[in-house]
C-alpha cells in the first residue's frame, strides 16, 4: 500500500498544479484534492436514450458503480461533477444540454457514453437533419466510451479512465481483482 502510495505521489509530481519556478507550491494539496475528486465523481442524472438504461444498469446491483464512489447520481447540475452524455443529442436538445454543462461548476468532466454521443452513431447519413454528430461539437469531452450501447463494464472503465486523467495514475487504491 505504502509503496503504491509513493508511486502514486511521484507519478502526479510535476503534473498540474506544480509550476517549476514558483515559490509557493501546492502540489501536495492539489494531489490530495485530485485524489478526492477522482474518488468521488458524482454523475449528473442525464439519460437521453438507449445508453441511459445501460447507465442505470451500471448503477444497479450487478455492476454497482457505488464501489468507486460514483453512484451518487445528482439531479441538479450544481452538485454534479461529471456529465455522462448517455444517448443521442439532437439539435433541439443541444441548447439545453449546453446549458446543463454551463450550470455545472468547476471542476467538471464529460464522458461521451455511446456512439451517438461520440459521433452521432448510427443516425448519421448524408442529409440527416437532426442529430448532433458528436457532443464534442458542443463542449469538451474527457472520455469517450464507444458501443451501441456500451456495456455497463465499459462505463466503469470510462470512470476509471477519467480518474486516471484526474490523478495521473491508474486508480489508487487499486481495484481488487476477484
Amino acid at each position: 500500500m505504502a509503496e503504491q502510495q509513493a508511486k502514486w505521489l511521484s507519478c502526479a509530481e510535476g503534473g498540474a498544479g506544480s509550476e517549476p519556478g514558483s515559490l509557493v507550491r501546492f502540489a501536495r494539496l492539489e494531489q490530495l484534492l485530485d485524489w478526492g475528486r477522482a474518488n468521488s465523481l458524482w454523475p449528473l442524472t442525464l439519460g437521453l436514450a438507449c445508453c441511459a438504461i445501460e447507465m442505470m444498469a451500471a448503477g444497479a446491483a450487478r455492476f454497482d458503480l457505488a464501489r468507486f464512489g460514483a453512484e451518487v447520481f445528482r439531479p441538479s447540475p450544481r452538485q454534479a461533477d461529471v456529465m455522462i452524455v448517455a444517448g443521442t443529442v439532437n439539435w433541439k436538445m443541444a441548447g439545453p444540454i449546453k446549458t446543463l454543462y454551463d450550470q455545472m461548476l468547476e471542476p467538471k468532466w464529460v464522458i461521451a457514453f455511446g456512439n451517438c454521443a461520440i459521433s452521432g452513431g448510427p443516425f448519421v447519413f448524408p442529409g440527416q437533419y437532426a442529430v448532433v454528430e458528436g457532443v464534442d461539437k458542443l463542449f469538451p469531452v474527457d472520455v469517450h466510451v464507444p458501443g451501441c450501447p456500451p456495456r455497463p463494464e465499459a462505463l466503469i472503465e470510462g470512470i476509471l479512465e477519467l480518474e486516471q486523467k484526474i490523478t495521473g495514475t491508474r486508480r489508487w487504491p487499486r481495484v481488487k481483482t476477484a
Binding site: 439539435w91 433541439k92 448524408p126 442529409g127 440527416q128 437533419y129 437532426a130 454528430e133 461539437k137 458542443l138
Partner: protein, 166 residues
C-alpha cells in the same frame, strides 16, 4: 364483425361532398374499398376528398373507433400529398383507413382534432414532416422538430438543412 363492416360501408357510402354552385365542383362520393386484412393489415379503406375528412372521422367516432395515427405520404410525380388516417377498434378486430389527397403546392385540409383530440399531436407531426396545413388546428408550431424549424424533412425533395456546427 362482418355486419359491422357492412354498416361502416353504408355509413361511408353516403359521405358525399355536395356539389357547390360557386365552384362548379361536382359531387364527389367517398370510395369504400374492403381489403384483405391478412395481406394489407386493414379491413376497410375509405378514400375521401379533403372537404369531408371531418365527417369521415365523425363516422369512425360514432362506431367507437380509436385514433391510431395520422400520417402523410408525399407523391411528387402526381403533385399530391396523401394524408392517411388510421383508426383501430378497441373492442373488435377492425382496422379502418381513411385516405385523402391534397395538392402538393398548397397542402391544406380541415383538422379532425375536435372529433379526436388525440389527432392534435398527429396533425402537428404531419405538419412538421410534410408541411401540410390543418385548417382550424390551434397550434401548428413544430412538435418533434426544433421550435424554429422551417423545413419539412419527409418531403421527397428535402435536402439537408444547413447547420452551422459551432
Amino acid at each position: 364483425m362482418n355486419e359491422l363492416i357492412e354498416q361502416l360501408k353504408s355509413a361511408y357510402a353516403v359521405l358525399v361532398v355536395p356539389a357547390r354552385a360557386d365552384t362548379q365542383a361536382a359531387a364527389v362520393p367517398a370510395v369504400v374499398q374492403p381489403t384483405d386484412p391478412e395481406r394489407r393489415g386493414c379491413h376497410l379503406e375509405v378514400t375521401v376528398t379533403p372537404a369531408v375528412v371531418v365527417d369521415a372521422a365523425q363516422v369512425a367516432n360514432r362506431f367507437g373507433f380509436a385514433i391510431d395515427t395520422i400520417t402523410g405520404i408525399d407523391w411528387p410525380e402526381a403533385g399530391q400529398m396523401e394524408v392517411v388516417y388510421d383508426f383501430f377498434h378497441p373492442q373488435h378486430r377492425l382496422h379502418l383507413v381513411v385516405r385523402t389527397r391534397v395538392p402538393r403546392d398548397a397542402p391544406a385540409l380541415p383538422t379532425i382534432q375536435d372529433v379526436f383530440p388525440g389527432a392534435n399531436w398527429h396533425e402537428r407531426e404531419t405538419h412538421d414532416f410534410f408541411g401540410i396545413k390543418f385548417i382550424g388546428h390551434p397550434d401548428l408550431t413544430p412538435l418533434l422538430l426544433p421550435e424554429d424549424a422551417d423545413y419539412h424533412p419527409l418531403r421527397k425533395d428535402f435536402t439537408n438543412v444547413s447547420r452551422s456546427s459551432n
